[in-house]
């Protein structure tokens, strides 16, 4: 079986530029451009969050689409399910805005659309080849790969460093 791709975060690459947040909000707007998005009501919301930890670390946080998704099992209206691609989705029309998902998400990545009284989250940009946040990241702090490919790359880098170290 082909492994689905996921969004991996390399916090050591993040400079805290917030490009991902902006791109995410635009991707989830009606007009799909920065200029139209700014004027939209309600204001389009990002589903990725760049947070700051003192003294100097920026941390992009995005839904992990957990294998054992607490939000999906906690939902009292059956609004959260998993797609064939492994994406945990909140079905807008079924959401009743009880915020149980917010209460159980250990990453704090479920947003609340107060105007609409609905929860929202990363949908991994179903209409795009690469999620908007990953596409927008100038430092490749966000990576869109399968877990196998991502870990293989880490192993190779580690291997190269190891061999280089031995040669000295």
């Amino acid at each position: 079986m082909k492994q689905p791709k996921e969004i991996f975060v390399r916090t050591d690459h993040c400079t805290g530029c917030h490009s991902c947040e902006l791109a995410c909000a635009i991707a989830h707007s009606t007009g799909q451009t920065l200029y139209s998005a700014i004027a939209e009501k309600p204001v389009p919301k990002p589903r990725v969050y760049v947070e700051w930890v003192n003294p100097d670390r920026a941390v992009p946080i995005v839904c992990r689409h957990c294998e054992d998704a607490p939000c999906m099992h906690a939902c009292i209206s059956g609004a959260i399910s998993r797609s064939a691609e492994g994406v945990v989705m909140t079905e807008r029309d079924r959401c009743i805005g009880c915020w149980t998902c917010v209460m159980v998400c250990p990453y704090g990545v479920i947003g609340r659309h107060l105007e609409e009284h609905k929860a929202y989250r990363c949908d991994r940009c179903p209409d795009r080849e690469i999620p908007a946040c990953v596409d927008a990241c100038p430092t490749k702090a966000l990576i869109y790969q399968s877990a196998t490919d991502f870990s293989q790359k880490i192993r190779r880098t580690a291997g190269r460093e190891f061999v280089a170290g031995q040669g000295r």
Partner: protein, 415 residues
């Protein structure tokens, strides 16, 4: 290998979550779910929408929605389990069937607790909203109701109250405690919620209870309070908590103490028989005390755990907080979890009262562990606080952020 026979008694949160999990682990075993109700499994917390008529019955059915996608689960509706033969491993049903099992889950849930100091509870028009059928009947009764009196100030009644308000029915809530939601927070914590309820047009009488329900041929005509006051109404809802459905079990055979006692692996005192959901007594991870909760979310979690254990994947249940509620009433969102009743305790408590938000963070007496939280108005990132409580997390470098409600996942990684 022989095909395993799984029987589940109870077709709600715990039972269906267990069935789903068993199917995930064991594609071949037979899974049979008995449900006393005649309706197919549904999302029980959604029944207020049936009363308000904002949703249709078919919109709240469970199977095929959310995580409930498993195939090959046999449902026997309108079927009550009446007796378990633990030696022959058979269950007897109200339809005189005898079902053999290899693994049995008891997930018979709970029923509304009915006060014994109120007369006239059997009058037509008196409801204790538990099942979809209760909600259907209440929705019908609401057609001829202009004033309803709700006894009890818990979440169930608040949700029922708003469902009725949406149908333009006047609602009076009679609460024995000094304030609404007394199980979920202290009176002083609830002022924003109370304000929102008052503004929404709900009439609330606190510090009083009902003594008598009056009625005639057409059903309820009024409620008499303990100060002698009489409130005219044609509908009454009782929301006074729930009790575990253990009456059908033999306490000589299986250990019962306020509910069905389950060990860390969700097993009852009888090997091969498991318990989950409202019927079960479990423990809270903060103090380790035995509790039963009556919450959908907890029932699902325990049901999934029991399902894994039944299918041969030993899984320890992490226990649950007695209080673990998120909801929104009268446009006021709130979350209450863990230990939140602090009066008379030596717990370290930090309260921030605002005009539109309120928060209370409760730490251990030594101040080194978070044990509870109430967020009202702004509930952002509540799940992080739950994780901190549940994991007994060390607070070095994050306590200030917790008190200020600024915690984010980055802090848990790098602070």
């Amino acid at each position: 290998m022989e095909r395993m026979r799984y029987v589940i008694v109870g077709g709600s949160a715990a039972g269906m979550a267990a069935a789903e999990t068993i199917r995930g682990h064991d594609p071949h075993g037979s899974i049979c779910v008995l449900s006393e109700e005649f309706d197919a499994p549904y999302f029980r917390p959604m029944i207020p929408f049936i009363i308000s008529r904002n949703k249709k019955v078919e919109d709240i059915f469970l199977q095929g929605r959310g995580p409930y996608q498993a195939k090959g689960i046999e449902l026997r509706l309108g079927t009550r389990a009446v007796q378990i033969d633990t030696t022959t491993k058979q269950i007897h049903t109200s339809r005189d069937e005898v079902l053999p099992f290899d693994r049995l889950l008891i997930a018979t849930g709970s029923r509304p607790s009915m006060p014994d100091d109120i007369s006239g509870l059997a009058t037509t028009g008196v409801f204790a909203l538990r099942s979809l059928e209760d909600a259907r009947q209440a929705a019908r009764r609401a057609e001829s109701t202009s004033h309803a009196v709700l006894l009890g100030g818990g979440l169930l009644n608040l949700k029922a109250a708003f469902a009725l308000l949406e149908r333009k029915i006047r609602v009076t809530l009679v609460v024995y405690s000094p304030e609404v939601l007394s199980q979920l927070m202290e009176p002083a914590d609830a002022y924003l919620i109370r304000q929102a309820l008052d503004q929404a047009g709900l009439k609330i009488i606190t510090g009083r209870s009902a003594t008598k329900i009056l009625g005639d041929d057409g059903g309820v005509t009024g409620v008499v309070l303990d100060d002698g006051r009489e409130l005219g109404c044609t509908m009454v809802c009782i929301g006074k908590g729930v009790r575990a459905n253990t009456d059908w079990l033999d306490p000589e055979e299986i250990t019962i103490d306020q509910g069905l006692v389950a060990d860390k692996y969700t097993s009852t005192s009888v090997p091969g028989i498991f318990a989950a959901g409202d019927v079960a007594v479990t423990f809270d991870p903060i103090g380790g005390n035995p509790i039963s909760t009556g919450l959908w979310t907890n029932a699902v979690e325990m049901g999934r755990c029991a399902g894994a254990n039944m299918a041969g994947h030993p899984t320890a249940y992490g226990g649950t907080f007695g209080i673990l509620n998120a909801t929104q009433v009268a446009r006021m969102p709130f979350v209450a979890m863990g230990v939140v009743h602090t009066a008379g305790s030596n717990l370290e408590t930090h309260i921030t009262r605002g005009k539109s938000t309120y928060r209370k963070l409760v730490f251990s007496a030594e101040g080194d562990r978070l044990v509870g939280a109430v967020f009202i108005g702004d509930i952002a990132n509540a799940g992080l606080y739950r994780a901190v409580i549940r994991e007994h997390r060390n607070l070095d470098g994050i306590k200030r952020q917790i008190i200020d409600h600024r915690l984010h996942y980055g802090h848990l990684l790098y602070a």
